[in-house]
């Protein structure tokens, strides 16, 4: 196990390096730089000297390769550079927003599991019944309805008919005011969780269906086990692997921030931060966030691998040679 972990961690390095090179070059290949992003059309009024002094300010005066080497060198020492827009170290800016995104992701996945798992199992057990049909219909709705539509609908209904609004740009953290924070987070989390619950439901349904057809389920039933125990201990447990896989992938995505939901609900998370950083060509911040998201993704995947061994003892990462 430890050896496996080490291997995975060593494999991180080229992944992250690849990501960093990709991001570093893409953001610079996009036309328009930080100066144009800040000044807009007024950038055309700058004299040559004015432009040079701005380039020096934004760190654009050195050749890209040199910029990259300096950046990687600093990043290895834990210094991701300074965000020009925020006037703060990139890592601080990211870490300040991270709890929002983390909380949103955890809540969304919890909601998705709360909706998706029971309906999925029920659909599989009552295969081809009216319950199955309704469950599948719900899943279809969840998959078909884009988050921005559901989010806007929720905001519209709440504000017009109930005169309440989950969040109007006055986000408070969980530590500051838990009640208020939860009231702000529950609707965006539901919006995200609802569409994700659809894939949880579908995966659960097909996985449980498959397991239910297995010999050992028939054996379990024939030895007289109650149906509830058969489903819980034998069917669901064995169906968990694909569910854990998609949950792992989804959390990875969610931790990268959900730009649209964060924009609609005005939540100061990583997604909005990245979106703004790109629009403003805040190079250091874009690179920092991308690296941070990649890092998250890799860690989550590793964690999912680890969960597999807990769910299914047959899976082992110990080297057998």
């Amino acid at each position: 196990m430890i050896r496996y972990l080490m291997q995975r961690i060593i494999a991180f390095v080229p992944t992250l390096l690849g990501v960093s090179i990709l991001i570093f070059s893409t953001i610079r290949l996009v036309p328009g730089d930080a100066i144009v992003a800040m000044l807009g059309t007024e950038a055309g009024m700058l004299t040559a000297v004015q432009r040079q002094s701005l380039e020096a300010y934004f760190g654009l005066d050195k050749p890209p390769v040199e910029q990259y080497i300096v950046w990687v060198g600093n990043a290895l020492r834990g210094d991701l550079g300074l965000s020009v827009r925020h006037g703060q170290p990139v890592l601080n800016v990211i870490l300040a927003r991270y709890p929002v995104t983390l909380q949103l992701a955890v809540m969304a996945v919890t909601i998705a599991l709360l909706i998706g798992l029971p309906i999925g199992v029920l659909s599989a057990v009552k295969h081809n019944s009216i319950i199955d049909l309704l469950g599948r219909l719900l899943a279809l709705l969840g998959l078909a309805m884009p988050g921005f539509l559901l989010g806007t609908l929720i905001i519209f209904v709440l504000s017009v008919y109930f005169k309440i609004l989950p969040n109007s740009g006055d986000y408070v953290s969980l530590a500051e005011n838990p009640l208020r924070n939860l009231s702000q987070m529950i609707f965006p989390a539901f919006t995200l969780g609802f569409s994700f619950s659809a894939s949880v439901m579908r995966t659960t349904r097909s996985a449980v269906l498959e397991v239910l057809a297995q010999d050992y389920v028939r054996t379990a039933r024939s030895k007289g086990l109650v149906e509830r125990i058969v489903i819980q201990r034998h069917a669901l447990r064995n169906a968990l692997i694909p569910i854990v896989t998609i949950v792992g992938v989804e959390i990875g995505y969610l931790l990268g921030g959900t730009v649209i939901i964060e924009e609609i609900f005005a939540l100061p998370g990583i997604g909005r931060l990245l979106f703004n950083a790109i629009s403003q060509r805040d190079y250091a911040l874009v690179q920092g966030i991308a690296l941070f998201i990649a890092f998250n993704f890799v860690v989550i995947n590793l964690f999912a691998d680890f969960i597999y061994t807990v769910i299914d003892p047959r899976i082992s990462y110990a080297h057998d040679t």
Binding site: V30, P31, G32, D33, V36, A37, M38, L39, G40, T41, E42, A43, G44, M45, L46, T47, V49, Q50, R51, S53, L54, Y57, R85, H86, G87, T152, I155, F156, L158, S159, V160, F162, K163, I164, L165, P166, S168, G169, D170, Y171, L179, R180, L182, S183, Q184, I186, E263, I264, F265, A266, P268, R272, L273, N276, S279, Q280, R281
Partner: protein, 503 residues
Amino acid sequence: MRKIVIVCLIALLTVLVGTVSAQESDNVLIMARAADTTGLDPHTQTAFASFRLLELIYEPLVNLDENLNVIPSLAESWAFADDGTSLTLNLRQGVTFHNGAAFTAEDVVATINRILDETTAAAARANYLSIASIDTPDDYTVVFNLSQPDTPLLAALATTNAAIVDSADVESGDVATVANGTGPFVLDSWTPEEVTMLTANPDWWGEGPNIDGIEIRIIPDETSILAALRAGTIDFALLNDPLVATLLIDDPTIVLNRAPSIGYHVFQLRAAAPPLDQLEVRQAISCAIDRQEVLDVASLGEGQVTAPLTMAAFTLPIEELFCYEKDLDRARELMAQAGMEAGFTLNVIAANAEPPTALSEAQNIQAQLAEINITVEIESLELSVYVDRWLAGDFEAAVAQNGGRPDPYTMYARYWQSTGNLNVVAGYSDATLDELMAAGRAETDPTARYEIFAEFQRYLAEQAPWIWLYVGYEYTAQQPYVTGFVPTPTDSILSLTRVELAR
């Protein structure tokens, strides 16, 4: 058991949601807008979103009222010398910066020098190049000695880009971070893309502010701003998108303010790009476009068709301008004269959502120009990409929303003087335009100036390097209990100092 759980959950949710509607009861105005300030240095900012914050913190020597007249600010009075070669300003006494330092002539000198210093990269530097030297006979008198008569200079000083900063901050190089102005509000905190907190400046020289402070929240989606207004969680909002703002027209619970903007929507032809180099082709395009239709389709009729100059003091009846009435026969005739009956393909760039109406404008123009066999290809670009190509003059035609200025010279010298910084964007210049611009700059008599610029507008419309379309509105919205706000064509929110809250 299950029922109990469900009931508990619903109860919990009700409590949670209920807490949201608890409104803060103090005398702080809660304001929302979609875009945030891009920085705190008043001299280097150009985004409208930045001005809306910085104009509350900093003050220029003079300001503009809602009719774009120059009014006193840090200078109480002023006069040009008879020969126009100097401008003397008498400064307000007893004004202090937010850090307690007294405001004197020394700060004006330090500010102007900072703006003129190229390494500052000050945005409006080009407007002050006529200032050759500055004399300060005493602490409260400043004399700008000019290298040439420059009437537009006074109105050009009425901008946050020429806001007076503390000479000590200039010396220490801290202007970009301290937000130390003389204005009615003091900056407490700024969390980019989230929230800005301002408190009223008790020592401000003017009347007010009547509120204790302002909390500016960034809500990136304007539909969500609308929802927040309706839910009563914000008091005041800045809106950009006419499609969102007009949803409030029939809403009796929210007050929508509209002021005609001095910024204008324009279809820029680049006369340097063939076949647009032929006068007849440009004129044909001008005759083929029904400007009112573009306004109706793209902006729901929110605005009015405009001549090149958008400020009230210089407007011209549009009937006097070339082909402001759609005339397809004439357009086809002009195309034939240019040997272009068969038409051609015109590439048009449009920025994505900036302004929000850009794409609809381009599409309507596309439909209208199809009638004279011009095939319009629309290229929709991300804003910075668009700006990059626009500045390089790398396009055939563009839909744009350009900012206006209170003075016609300051507004257009950049485009229509052959030496203008943005002349490459305009892609057109000639001797007549150069002469008219130079005359308008030197002339001090208002009537004579009006005539010069009326001629300038008629000439521009006839040469048709650009097709001026319309001016929209600057929108703000507020709860009925917010009183005293005065909307202005420059979108300034400085009158928030006069606002009262009667919750």
